[in-house]
Symmetry: C2
Subunit: 428 residues, 2 copies
């Protein structure tokens, strides 16, 4: 059977949405196709924590009978299992919540439904969207990690099990799995996209994160979540001004991935106004402040779990980030917040000088084994600065595995970021 | 009976904590005293949505048998009913949640319990901590509003039903009821105090808000929530530099309250280095940006309720703030966020030039009737700027009603704010 399966490939949600709108595809037919793919692949990939085929088909038939409700009408969407759903269990990747059923939908889930989208199921997440992974494997090589913490989201979209998914990002939990799984991943400007009903980790950095097969498909999900009209990303603008930021830690990159990115930078140099740029803030200091704040905050976010279910938290979490966070005093935390605020202010002009910045999405391809979901080194500066970022799969692979290019813009310039990403995608 | 009742007066939580620690007071005896007060007064004041006397006494006896756990050992605390409690219903002031029982405690509730505090019950809130009030009345005059949206919190602490309470503030929901009810109210620097498990309204402004009888008692609750050692506010520092900020809308103040505040400013002028200061940012522009952001965000925060229970939202909310928020497009919202960020940056030096700023807490005393909880005019600038604020009851009353003086400091200077408030309280 396996030999006859199509290779993992993300779907084009925008094309599917248009086919549904045109009447050439039904939601039911689409869901059947996805369920077949999931049936064939889930035993290997393990991307889902909950899926109910019968309920999904019922919901699909209902949507097929319903007048078009919005941007996502008839489109199935997967939801990371740290995001509340009123009709599906939500376990936050923790045994503490083995039997947890939220009372209401998180805001992004409600927005998907309001736009006519269908919640297909829940995706595997690392424990509380932090580090300890579930069993998900990379659809492009089952021996490798899909990345995390939005592991199931990246794997399911990368495999073509679902066209769209909503994950989260606190440091690199969307950009990294998107890079590893060969899909578009988008982390919005901090604070602009509703996160109510998403289990908090570090509220100073937590955002939702979107997964899609193409830049335009990702924009469709973005606009549904913003409850805004759809703005198709435009790749036809004039010559872009692109800053190439290898970051101060370029020497830590895996050589083959560094080469692939250098080749992409060189190709962009032919068509765009490209120049090397260095972050105007000290990356180590930024990393230290980010680490202080996120460790301090996860301790407070898990206050209830620490008190009543301490032994059900993983040893990695207890002895790692929580122990670290409990050693940080309030004055140190407040000073780190001020450091971050100063870094954001100091980098505002830097972003204004270009249309976008391109940078690595991860230090290499997905590593072998699933015990670790990889490092956030190259996501940390952008999440700390609260700017929007998008991982775009390069057309070339490294050792047969996908590699992402991270495209970044200034705070609040999310729509422009998508235009830049489309422009770059059209030319790479 | 009523004639023999003590007049409404807040309790001194720090003195009670010390008596419990010294063994001269048991938690059980304290809870009995509070239950008697509640029994006598609740029929009139209506501050509570949930209280279970038997369970409270059981919990008190357990705490009396337990070694001291932390700063709040044996102290009863009331919780605003937009804050999740694992063992008490939580209704968010909305009929949508008439039967809602959260699975876990909100972070501040868990922190209270971890510090040995006793959750005495839940306090009346306006619908989703917004505008439509419950039935609570001002304990100092039952014909008047207690303020809101933390109506029950202010009223219960003001009446002496409970020594401490945790409410919330998005614009003025803690400072105003504290002023109206004659208690200390504290709104922390935005973002520094865990808010996980508190029903979100406008995540760009939402904070918890604390209620206590004295500045030092409020600091005790503050430090329990920060999981920090107790720092007693010091009123013995040298001559303070105090900025008096009447704000650009001083002419809207009720004359008798304005006179009381002017008298306080004059008394401070004798002991401190006092000067008039004007906000370095345009108050109308700040108010407009704050309004844009909070209206846009409440729409997204209530995405699920809008979709599934629209008819159970109040008409005031539907036709007011939600309709307003739905008319705001994403670009306008992002521009307003940028305006606010610029205002915060522009006012940082202004705060550095003084130890604290004093300003009105509300435009007057609690108004007659309970249909409106009052205006947030004099809280809005400080909440928009993300700075910490504390309402301190003036020793004099106006028409027999309490009046609060709002003390404000720069971002992150919460401990210094308490020192200033104690300094001022000692000298007024």
């Amino acid at each position: 059977m396996t030999a006859t399966l199509a290779r993992p490939e993300p779907l084009d949600a925008l094309a599917l949405a248009r086919a549904i709108e045109a009447g050439t595809l039904t939601c039911e037919a689409l869901v059947r196709r996805l369920l077949e793919r999931i049936e064939a692949r889930e035993g290997d990939v393990k991307a889902w924590t909950h899926i109910d085929p019968g309920a999904a088909l019922d919901a699909a038939r209902t949507l097929d009978r319903t007048p078009r409700q919005g941007l996502l009408h008839g489109l199935p969407v997967g939801i990371k299992d740290v995001i509340d759903t009123a009709d599906m269990p939500t376990r936050y990747g923790s045994p503490i919540y083995a039997n947890h059923q939220p009372a209401i939908d998180a805001a992004p889930v409600a927005a998907v439904r309001a736009a006519g989208g269908l919640i297909l199921g829940k995706h595997v997440t690392a424990e509380f969207a932090h580090r300890v992974p579930g069993e998900t494997r990379n659809p492009h090589d089952l021996a490798r990690t899909p990345g995390g913490s939005s592991s199931g989201s990246g794997a399911a979209v990368g495999d073509g099990m679902v066209p769209l998914a909503i994950g989260t990002q606190t440091t690199g939990s969307t950009i990294r799995p998107a890079s590893y799984c060969g899909v578009v991943g988008y982390r919005p400007t901090f604070g602009i996209m509703g996160i109510v009903g998403v289990k908090p980790s570090s509220p100073s950095f937590d955002t939702v994160g979107l997964f899609a097969g193409t830049v335009a498909s990702c924009a469709l999900l973005r606009d549904a979540l913003l409850e805004a009209p759809f703005t198709l990303p435009r790749g036809d603008g004039g010559r872009l001004r692109i800053g190439v930021c290898r970051t101060a830690r370029w020497d830590e990159m895996e050589p083959a991935t560094a080469d692939a990115l250098e080749a992409a930078f060189a190709r962009l140099g032919v068509v765009a106004e490209v120049r090397d740029v260095a972050l105007p803030v000290d990356m180590s200091r930024l990393a230290k402040a980010q680490r202080t704040v996120s460790a301090y905050e996860i301790v407070r976010s898990l206050a209830s779990e620490r008190r009543t279910h301490y032994h059900l938290l993983s040893e990695d979490l207890r002895n790692g980030r929580l122990a670290e966070g409990q050693r940080i005093d309030h004055t140190t935390y407040v000073a780190a917040l001020a450091d971050l605020e100063a870094a954001r202010a100091a980098s505002a002009d830097w972003f204004d000088a270009v249309d976008c910045v391109v940078a690595p999405a991860a230090k290499g391809i997905a590593s072998l084994g699933i015990a670790s979901t990889g490092a956030s080194t190259y996501c940390l500066p952008w999440t700390a600065l609260h700017v929007p970022a998008l991982s775009l799969p390069l057309p070339e692979r490294v050792e047969g595995m996908p590699v992402g290019l991270q495209v970044v813009a200034g705070r609040g310039r999310d729509l422009a970021l998508f235009d830049c990403a489309q422009w770059i995608a059209d030319r790479l």
